[in-house]
């Protein structure tokens, strides 16, 4: 089918799914057994205050009305106010989102570059040293718990060697000017180079930890895909044409081998959003992941619903983009 009708169909599907997501989140947050009013006011609040708070939060309306209020609010972009920060959840999310974006972008770039390179070398130099190294590296990448490895690396690089910082986006005594919220980008824009280099130092460990398992997955798929492609008939034709080995690999094999890798990148991005939760917790990274963990632990249900919906939205959009990209890349899919 045409690319445009394919996109349309997938968009409609996405809207339906998001709607379902909203319903689920509503249901989940309403069945939290703990009473948020009690959490805010404390256990010994007088009944009048409790009722007033309950009315203020809209908790005394029938459940159906609550659902309508909620949906109406969401469609207007209003998730309510965080019970912890007392600001609107949207404000909270927009404040913490850039940090997560920065970390996610940095990690996916790292993972794609390192992963495809390792996978390519692994396939071309099969069963030699680089292949063994890469395969061990990859299997460790999907086996080692990220949160534990992060702590171990902090132990070595911060406590024992003092080379890298243990957390945060930048050192506390610096106060960078905020333009977009992406510290690296902002510091380049404003020319605050000391902030820039400081921020890079802070990005190294979190990027590695967050990107490691994606690197491993990408490397494995790349290797398998390359090995598969290298056995195809058209590679034999390319060799029979007398093309130098480098050209055969880079121009003929690589372009075909990358196709399955692109789909994986989309899946990995979702994994990154999950992993960000753990990485941000360990490295005290002021991002959306840490925000969600805190909201869950404090039962801040407007923040929980806002945060999870937001993440689901990002995830769905990324998957849609990857599906479209896949169809665009492989001309056989356009038929």
């Amino acid at each position: 089918m045409e690319l445009s009708s394919f996109i349309l169909k997938r968009l409609i599907l996405m809207v339906v799914v998001i709607f379902g997501v909203l319903i689920i989140v509503f249901v989940v947050t309403r069945i939290i057994p703990a009473d948020p009013v009690g959490a805010i006011l404390g256990g010994n609040a007088p009944p009048a205050a409790v009722d007033a708070m309950r009315h203020q939060l809209g908790l005394d309306k029938p459940i159906f009305m609550q659902l309508l209020d909620y949906l109406g609010g969401v469609l207007r972009g209003n998730f309510g106010n965080s019970l912890v920060s007392s600001r609107s959840v949207i404000t909270d999310i927009l404040e913490y989102l850039p940090a997560t974006i920065e970390l996610a972008i940095s990690s996916i770039i790292f993972a794609v570059l390192l992963g495809t390179t390792l996978g390519l070398l692994s396939a071309v130099f099969r069963n030699r040293f680089i292949d063994h190294f890469s395969r061990i590296f990859s299997i460790l990448g999907i086996s080692l718990p990220g949160f534990w490895l992060g702590l171990i690396l902090i132990l070595f690089f911060y406590y024992r060697l003092g080379w890298l910082p243990s957390g945060g986006q930048y050192d506390m005594f610096l106060s960078p000017t905020r333009v977009t919220g992406l510290v690296l980008l902002d510091s380049v824009i404003t020319g605050e180079w000391n902030v820039f280099f400081n921020a890079i130092k802070h990005l190294i460990l979190p990027t590695f930890i967050l990107g490691y398992s994606s690197t491993a997955s990408i490397a494995r798929i790349m290797r398998a895909s390359m090995l598969d492609v290298l056995h195809q008939n058209y590679i034999r034709t390319a060799r029979a044409k007398g093309l130098p080995k480098k050209t055969v690999i880079l121009r003929h094999a690589l372009r075909n081998a990358l196709i399955p890798v692109v789909t994986i990148i989309g899946l990995e991005f979702g994994g990154l959003l999950s992993g960000a939760v753990l990485t941000e917790t360990i490295f005290s990274w002021p991002g959306l992941g840490r925000y969600i963990v805190n909201s869950l632990l404090t039962l801040d249900y407007p923040a929980i619903s806002g945060g999870t919906i937001f993440i689901a939205l990002i995830y769905s959009v990324v998957n849609l983009v990857v599906d479209i990209l896949y169809a665009a890349l492989d001309p056989r899919m356009r038929a």
């Binding site: 008939n233 058209y234 034709t237 029979a240 007398g242 372009r255 075909n256 492989d330």
Partner: protein
């Protein structure tokens, strides 16, 4: 260095094995064949006899787990078996070109067809005029000319992707690509086996016309005796990794010597005949554990006592005029058995 039997190509004592999980497949067991400039040699035999492996070996395209264990591949006086990869690449696609059995699968699925031909031309020019600035437009012109010669409309075809071509069109593209360098030798590995019968005839006629113009020698691999008979001057019959008979088309068809060749020719049904089809008893041998001595001996009706211990070599048959180049590998015709 022994005397060259063919001034274009002379394969001597070629042994190829494949090291697989199940064991070592001794695919080629000392293949001998040769051809002169401008000649056409057909290599015929059943599936699994090693004819494709032989074809791939010429340009050293055999990959793991296969390897050439011994033998010489003389091409115009150079032993291809000993050349470096760089030197081989200056011959591949230029002096020797190859086309394959499944043409659509043999083309890169994500590259336009025209671009793939241009790539070949570019590569060949680069090694010929090293140092000169390539003229991309000139290459496109050559590509379009070639597409026209193989009977395709270049305007429509050059921007198509391989999956958009029919089998016949794809094979024409491959031929255009292969002949764009005016090679001295064209190796065609079962070029028509995957195509419809009517298309087969078209492609063969096309090939016939084109190679005659450029005086390109052709090494045609096929399992169809009829095709080989029509197209080629000489025939090499292969069985289980050996060339068992070699000679001119007339000589082989009029006077087949090797028991296997006789069996093959008998198996072809004759129009108007109502006799039962004659097949060769037994089955093709397992090449991991092949029969000792002559690999055909278990199925041979003329078996002699030494046939299971000694391997026959391809020797000139004494009864034929030399121009027919009739050779046979069988103890029936060699007095030292």
């Amino acid at each position: 260095m022994e005397q060259q039997r063919g001034d274009l190509l002379d394969i001597s004592g070629l042994r190829v094995v494949f090291n697989t999980y199940a064991g070592q497949v001794k695919a080629l067991n000392g293949v001998e064949l040769w051809m002169n400039h401008g000649e056409r040699l057909g290599v015929v035999g059943e599936t699994g006899c090693g004819k494709s492996v032989t074809a791939l070996s010429v340009m050293r395209l055999i990959e793991e787990p296969g390897e050439i264990t011994s033998g010489a591949l003389w091409f115009e006086g150079r032993n291809l078996a000993q050349l470096s990869e760089n030197d081989l690449n200056s011959i591949r696609g230029k002096d020797i070109a190859m086309i394959f059995q499944e043409p659509v699968a043999a083309l890169n699925p994500v590259m336009k067809v025209g671009a793939q031909i241009v790539e070949n031309i570019e590569c060949q020019r680069r090694s010929a005029d090293a140092g000169q600035i390539p003229d991309k437009r000139a290459f496109s012109e050559i590509m379009r000319d070639m597409l026209g010669r193989v009977g395709l409309d270049w305007q429509r075809t050059e921007n198509l992707y391989p999956h958009e071509l029919s089998g016949g069109m794809a094979q024409r593209v491959m031929i255009a690509m292969a002949l764009s360098s005016k090679p001295k030798l064209l190796i065609a590995d079962e070029p028509t086996s995957a195509l419809d019968v009517t298309i087969q005839a078209q492609i063969l006629n096309l090939l016939n016309k084109l190679v005659r113009e450029t005086q390109t020698a052709v090494l045609l691999i096929t399992h169809a005796m009829g095709v080989a008979a029509q197209f080629c001057d000489f025939i090499a019959v292969m069985y289980a990794g050996n060339v068992v008979e070699y000679g001119s088309v007339q000589s082989i068809f009029r006077n087949p010597l090797h028991p296997y060749t006789k069996g093959l020719l008998n198996a072809v049904p004759k129009i108007g005949g109502t006799d039962e089809l004659q097949s060769i008893p037994g089955i093709v041998p397992d090449l991991i554990d092949p029969p000792s001595g002559c690999r055909f001996h278990p199925r041979c009706p003329y078996r002699k006592p030494d046939c299971d211990t000694l391997e026959p070599t391809l020797r000139a048959a004494k009864t034929e005029p030399a121009a027919d180049r009739h050779h046979v590998a069988c103890f029936l015709y060699q007095n030292d058995a």
